[in-house]
């Protein structure tokens, strides 16, 4: 019990003193996860909307596949990205392995299916309501996509938050492709895993507190903005 108390005290000290290694790790983690989410949004929103609106052979199979990808094991994604980016791999010449860019790529692969699958569902539901009106106004499914995404914006915030949750919480993929190198690719989750195995529970706990607090803060901020905007636009 005293160990845990001690760990909490040390964790708080690290937080209050703005410990430089802690700040470095937190900053890198946020950079990687937010970049991955931004890329996943750029890919996932149009992809999900297109899957909702365009009818083509094999669409149902693709939807099931996409939904299944939401549960991709991070370590497997990490392994595949590792193989692709390693010296002998097809993209080995880029020299990206064990860099933050490799971690962003791996997390983008993890987050994109979540954003795309949830977007598809939201846009499909909205299309039921809007289809006749928009087609009457002269819109085609393709030209309706921006309007539908815009009108679904409040619901889509939740999809993006789900994607961010996935990115910020996972450890397997960034561990494999980043390598948990101090000052280079060490993120909150990989550092926690390392410190626990080393027995430095205080730093691990401090990082854990920061991770959960940041996640809470981002979600709370987003939620309040969303609530206000939604009330204003119904």
């Amino acid at each position: 019990m005293t160990d845990i108390t001690q760990a909490f005290v040390t964790a708080l000290q690290l937080l209050i003193t703005f410990d430089s290694s802690l700040v470095e790790i937190v900053t890198l983690s946020m950079q990687v996860s937010l970049s991955a989410v931004a890329l996943a949004v750029l890919i996932g929103l149009p992809l999900g909307a297109a899957l909702a609106l365009f009818k083509f052979p094999g669409r149902n199979g693709l939807v099931v596949f996409l939904n299944a990808l939401m549960g991709l094991p991070p370590v497997v994604v990490g392994l595949v990205v590792y193989l692709v980016l390693s010296r002998a791999g097809p993209l080995g010449v880029l020299g990206l392995l064990f860099t933050p860019m490799a971690m962003i790529i791996a997390q983008t692969i993890l987050v994109t299916p979540i954003v795309a699958a949830l977007t598809r569902q939201v846009v499909a539901d909205l299309w039921v309501e809007y289809s006749e009106q928009l087609r009457s106004l002269g819109a085609t499914p393709a030209s309706a996509i921006p309007a539908l995404l815009y009108d679904a914006r409040f619901t889509l915030v939740t999809a993006v938050l789900a994607g961010f949750g996935r990115a910020s919480a996972e450890v397997g993929a960034v561990m494999i492709v980043g390598g948990n190198i101090d000052h280079v690719t060490r993120t909150m989750t990989t550092a926690i895993a390392l410190e626990v195995s080393k027995g430095d529970l205080a730093l691990a706990l401090g990082l854990g507190i920061v991770l959960i607090s940041l996640s809470l803060a981002i979600n709370a901020a987003t939620y309040s903005v969303k609530q206000r905007a939604e009330a204003a636009w119904a």
């Binding site: 006749e132 087609r135 106004l137 002269g138 030209s143 636009w233």
Partner: protein, 259 residues
């Protein structure tokens, strides 16, 4: 038609003039049927709509009135038969010369003015021309003070006025209306009817459904009566209400609907 109110709604220097282009009318439905779930819901409709009249489609619930509107407007494809806009030029998209107002308007989560702007954009109207048209239709429909309000915050009647303004802005030659006043109070109904009459007076052909027989008596030039998916008669309004040709229509008017 209430001429006084209609002229009040018309600004003399309006940005919207009468639809003076070659018309896409007449509309000819040839043997149009529509099946769903193994049932024939619309059965062998054949008719021609040419003059710029106000045609009211009447009939009981489930008779196929709304389906008929959607088939004519092109939102549904007929299972058999075809809908032809005979006046449409080669390569012209007849849909761009039509508009439809639904019982429950779907308004985008944007401002009132932006809702109209969206429709104009879909019709390929240049960005610079849009503000003038938007101001004009908002003025004509009494929505000017709501221009910057979120469209979904409007009352039911104002939302329907916006749907009409949005349709009006695109200068349709043909306006379809599917029970546009079914969920409105008498004052809003009156306002909506006035807007429709003004659009008609400026040359837009009106094709609408309603359950409000008094409304049909007030505004219809012609009635198409549909029963069980079949067109029973297409009759000048006065004649329809006085001496309907079909027994079904007589029963409908007497309130003794046969099922």
């Amino acid at each position: 038609m209430n001429k006084a109110t209609a002229s009040n709604l018309t600004a003399p220097d309006a940005a919207i003039s009468q639809p003076d282009r070659a018309t896409i009318l007449p509309l000819r439905a040839e043997n149009v049927s529509f099946d769903a779930g193994g049932k024939r819901l619309v059965d062998s409709l054949t008719f021609t709509l040419d003059d710029r009249l106000r045609t009211f489609i009447l009939g009981s619930n489930g008779a196929g009135k709304s389906l008929t509107l959607r088939l004519c407007h092109g939102l549904l494809l007929p299972s058999t038969g075809r809908v032809v806009w005979e006046g449409a030029a080669r390569g012209e998209d007849p849909l761009k010369r039509q508009a439809m107002v639904f019982q429950r308007p779907v308004l985008l989560r944007r401002t009132v003015a932006q809702n109209i702007d969206y429709a104009l954009k879909q019709h390929g109207i240049h960005r610079r021309e849009r503000p003038g048209i938007i101001d004009d239709v908002l003025g004509r429909t009494g929505l000017t003070r709501f221009a910057k309000s979120p469209a979904r915050h409007l009352s039911g009647g104002e939302q329907q006025k916006l749907a009409l303004a949005r349709a009006w802005a695109t200068r349709p030659q043909v306006l379809f209306l599917d029970e546009p006043t079914a969920s409105l109070d008498p004052a809003a109904t009156h306002a909506v009817e006035n807007i429709i009459d003004t659009m008609h007076a400026e040359g837009t052909r009106i094709i609408m459904t309603t359950h409000d027989l008094a409304q049909a008596k007030r505004h219809a030039d012609e009635v198409m009566f549909i029963y069980g998916g079949r067109l029973m008669e297409k009759t000048p309004a006065e004649e329809f209400f006085n001496t309907p040709r079909s027994g079904e229509a007589a029963a409908f008017l007497n309130g003794e609907l046969r099922w």
